[in-house]
């Protein structure tokens, strides 16, 4: 064994060398002696030529059937159209599913049969016997290890790496700085304007006097139109002014959505300082869960509980959005609302705290 033909250390024994004879007696401490590798039982195909021919036909049959299925795949591809004759009509989902099924069944079965044929061929007809190879310890012998170590030390000695301290230290210094340009290059993955990430989280497009519009249809909401027990998803009127392209719209969709709920005023437990945040029992809460930011959506009218479908944080909307179950640690932010001259609901201001999950810069 030596360093430049290490393959020899692990491989390449003739099969005969490695044949194990049965042990005469058990190894020390072992109760039963190793009886040695026994013959494989002969297969039916080895002794019965008829069975052999049958196996041959089976294998060839599977391969042939696979070919037919591939032809079937081509037929299905051509025959089952998914493109509508008139583009106005659009695609028929049924056609797509039939095409998917036909293409998948033919291709899948063809692959399966090619594989099954190959395995059956190996199992029933290939004549290779069980082979035994000897293993060797993977560790190199001492001589080789010493020679390698010597070569390494010679190389190190020749560079003078240990002696030339100035070269060594300046090289290490340069290498240590190398990651900085690489990391710095990633700086512009984030924006350069608009303050720190935390500052951007502190504001939404809600502001004093902004009308509350229904989501989807974007209609202003009259306080009188909301019945007790109802829930309406809503957005600020300022959302409609955002440019259609670019990220602003979708970013605000992740921050500004609110839920309006109406309950009987005496059912509400109003916290100090929030006495005038609601309008006759109409409350507005952020829709963004304070756990990890899913939009909350499951409202239980009778208990005024609001459940996040992602991780089941449950908030009590009658009690200032307090967490009553689940992993969320913060109450749902409440949006102070009022009514304008025309009787429509408006925001009194932006949220008084950041919406969504906790983060480092968000103080108590």
């Amino acid at each position: 064994m030596s360093a430049n033909n290490e393959h020899n250390s692990g491989h390449g024994e003739s099969e005969e060398i490695a044949r194990r004879e049965p042990d005469e007696v058990a190894a020390v401490g072992d109760p039963i002696a190793d009886p040695g590798l026994h013959h494989n039982d002969e297969r039916l195909t080895d002794v019965d030529p008829k069975a052999g021919r049958r196996a041959e036909r089976q294998v060839a049959g599977m391969f042939t059937l696979a070919s037919l299925l591939m032809v079937g795949f081509i037929v299905a591809y051509v025959a089952i159209g998914i493109h509508p004759d008139d583009p106005e009509n659009g695609v028929d989902i049924g056609n797509v599913q039939v095409s998917n099924l036909a293409l998948g069944l033919t291709l899948g079965l063809a692959l399966l049969l090619v594989g099954a044929g190959a395995v059956q061929w190996a199992r029933s007809l290939m004549t290779s016997p069980e082979v035994v190879h000897e293993r060797h310890e993977l560790r190199s012998d001492d001589e080789t290890r010493q020679a390698t170590l010597d070569d390494w030390n010679t190389g190190v000695e020749e560079t003078g790496f240990g002696r030339r301290k100035m070269i060594r230290n300046s090289l290490l210094g340069a290498l240590a700085l190398l990651p900085l340009p690489a990391v710095l290059l990633l700086r512009d993955m984030g924006p350069n304007t608009g303050g720190t990430p935390a500052e951007r989280k502190e504001h939404t497009i809600w502001a004093e006097g902004v009308r509350i519009l229904t989501d989807v249809t974007f209609m202003p909401i009259r306080a009188a139109d909301l019945e007790v027990g109802s829930l309406v998803n809503a957005m600020p009127a300022t959302f409609e002014e955002l440019p259609e392209h670019g990220p602003e719209r979708i970013n605000e969709r992740a921050k500004s959505p609110v839920m309006l709920v109406r309950m009987l005023p005496d059912e509400i437990h109003v916290a100090e300082g929030r006495e005038n945040w609601h309008v006759d029992g109409i409350l507005a809460y952020s829709k963004i869960c304070t756990h990890v930011g899913c939009p909350i959506s499951l409202y239980e009218q009778t208990t005024h509980h609001m459940l996040c479908p992602c991780h089941q944080s449950t908030f009590d909307l009658a009690d200032n959005g307090k967490v009553i179950f689940g992993p969320a640690t913060r109450s749902l932010p409440q949006l102070p609302i009022a009514v304008d001259d025309e009787g429509y609901l408006i925001a009194q201001s932006d949220f008084t705290e950041p919406v969504g999950p906790s983060y480092w810069e968000r103080t108590r």
């Binding site: 998948g104 989501d215 689940g326």
Partner: protein, 549 residues
């Protein structure tokens, strides 16, 4: 001058004259590969990965990794006029306007589920049979890394179509990121190009998903297989099979035919799954809208345990210098993966420390013969499954018709109570199986024939095992806890390493202290002479055929 002239010989001749190929081929073409069903799990992972690569390349021909906002004008009528990203629109195009496009999407997704399931099962196989032991620790580490990369590949892919589910998944990732102290908001801001979700993330995940992660996987799989090839595969013990040899079928032709065939079988099964079971019909979810979520949102199975941990974690947040530390998110999203992966990656060394065993092992352990390791493995599986159930707590609440809070509370308690119980139970079962093996070797197998002696005594007739059968139950090593030795030597001088040795001995007693040892030769002989005149006697059976061909 060559002795081989035509057909395959010509190719070998050409290559051989340039890179001495025959030298290597001669030694490897008949390389031995042992056969066992459990060795196929890793192959399933490899073959499903190949299919994922092939179907993935197909998908890239149509998919547009862009979040540019467009109004949909494609073939799917219900969505016409809806504003969406180009990524989502091109996913719809792939599904509805490309023949076989939906099939390839489903093959790709099913393939990913199978890939991760096969990797996980493969890793459990390696764990329970001790195949990670020296000299295979490097391959264990590569395997752990591959599993992490596999999850990363799966999750980045899940996020690309920009449908409602993929967006919700990203939102949860963002929430987890924000919980990281000091840098959380910056990490999120750099990843998303500003505020969440922005319009950069799909274009950024795309190169990770189709280039970087699969590139790393290919590189590591290559290393994994080269090391496997060089070290030779482990095998089960048995007659003629020892730590110094490897028995099985030759690489060419048997292994090539079987593994090559198996490749097609795995691909065929995944394609059939894709043909018959719909997966991720994104047109039903709609484009991503951060203010919309559907109830019953479920991630792919391999993320389920993390989602479950997020669900069952009680609310826990405290302040340091008036800054929030949100443990209810940090623990499941950041700390838990580290707590699982670190011991998992280090396990070969931890066990080596505990048992003091630094020898090479090429023969696999039967799980019952290492009760403590098997117990640890089962305890982990129980832990994982509980979190996985937690990930579907709303689903289970619906089918069991109980409040979801009950399930959450049961899991909060169960996560601490059940894994130790599973450990204890598994260990007892293993010890019981060992005891049964031992009895079989000593007294033979039970025949079910009850004899009545002239005195009226009932006894069951035991039939002796053949030598091969008895050897099958006794080939494993006798594992004894290590002995710390005396604290002082013969001259009363304290042993400086005694403390360390005593700790090690304690750990090794934890591993091997309760193991039911296989009988010694004397015990077997004594048992045979006592009971059964026709019992097997070790080393005295001439009729056993030897192992030659």
């Amino acid at each position: 001058m060559s002795t081989i002239v035509n057909g395959a010989g010509k190719v070998v001749d050409f290559v051989d004259q340039r890179i001495t190929a025959s030298n290597w081929l001669k030694r490897n073409i008949r390389k031995v590969f042992p056969d066992h069903w459990s060795f196929l799990l890793g192959e399933i992972a490899l073959f499903s990965f190949i299919l994922i690569l092939l179907s993935g390349v197909f998908l890239t021909f149509w998919f547009k990794p862009s979040m540019a906002h467009i109004a949909y004008e494609g073939a799917y009528v219900p969505m016409r006029g809806v504003g969406m990203s180009e990524a989502y629109a091109s996913t719809l195009e792939l599904s509805f306007e490309v023949r076989g496009g939906l099939l390839m999407r489903q093959v790709h997704h099913w393939g990913a589920l199978v890939f991760l399931a096969a990797m996980s099962a493969h890793m459990l196989r390696i764990f329970f049979t001790g195949a990670f032991r020296k000299p295979r620790e490097i391959n264990w580490l590569i395997g752990v890394t591959l599993l992490v990369l596999g999850v990363a590949a799966g999750f980045t892919g899940y996020s690309l179509p920009d449908d409602l589910l993929s967006g919700t998944g990203l939102r949860i990732i963002e929430g987890g990121m924000l919980a990281i102290p000091i840098v959380g908001t910056y990490l999120s801001s750099f990843l998303f190009g500003g505020e969440y979700p922005g319009d950069d993330i799909v274009a950024r995940l795309y190169p990770l998903h189709i280039l970087l992660i699969p590139g790393l996987i290919i590189a590591l799989v290559t290393a994994h297989l080269m090391i496997l090839w060089y070290q030779k595969h482990t095998h089960w013990g048995g007659p003629g099979k020892t730590n110094h040899n490897v028995a099985g079928a030759p690489f060419f032709p048997i292994y090539v035919a079987k593994a090559g065939g198996f490749q097609f079988i795995v691909m065929g099964v995944i394609v059939l799954l894709a043909a018959t079971i719909q997966i991720n019909p994104v047109w039903l979810w709609g484009p991503y809208d951060p203010s919309v979520v559907s109830a019953g949102t479920q991630p792919d199975w391999y993320v389920g345990f993390l989602d479950g941990a997020l669900r069952v974690m009680p609310p826990w947040e405290f302040y340091i210098f008036d800054r929030p530390i949100t443990m209810s998110v940090l623990i499941p999203a950041v700390i838990l993966p580290g707590l699982i992966l670190t011991p998992l990656a280090l396990y070969p060394w931890l066990e080596q420390k505990a048992t003091g065993d630094t020898r090479e092992h090429h023969v696999l352990d039967r799980p019952r013969n290492v009760p403590v390791r098997t117990g640890i493995g089962v305890a982990f599986i129980v832990f994982y499954i509980l979190l996985w159930i937690a990930g579907g707590n709303d689903f289970f609440a619906t089918i069991l018709e109980i409040p979801v809070n009950w399930i959450t509370w049961s899991i909060r308690i169960g996560i601490f109570a059940l894994p130790p119980l599973a450990f204890w139970l598994t260990k007892r079962i293993c010890l019981g199986l060992e005891r049964r093996d031992r009895d079989k070797v000593m007294h033979g197998r039970e025949t079910g024939i009850v004899m009545v002696s002239p005195d009226g005594e009932f006894s069951e007739l035991h039939a002796p095992l053949s030598q091969a059968d008895a050897y099958q139950l006794t080939w494993h090593e006798r594992q004894l806890p290590s002995d710390p030795g005396p604290a002082t030597d013969a001259n009363g001088i304290p042993n400086p390493n005694y403390r360390a040795k005593r700790v090690q001995a304690k750990l090794s007693r934890f591993y091997f202290g309760d193991v039911v040892q296989k009988p010694t030769r004397e015990e077997v002989e004594a048992a045979h002479h006592n009971g059964h005149h026709d019992a097997v006697e070790a080393g005295h059976r001439d009729e056993i055929t030897s192992g030659q061909q």
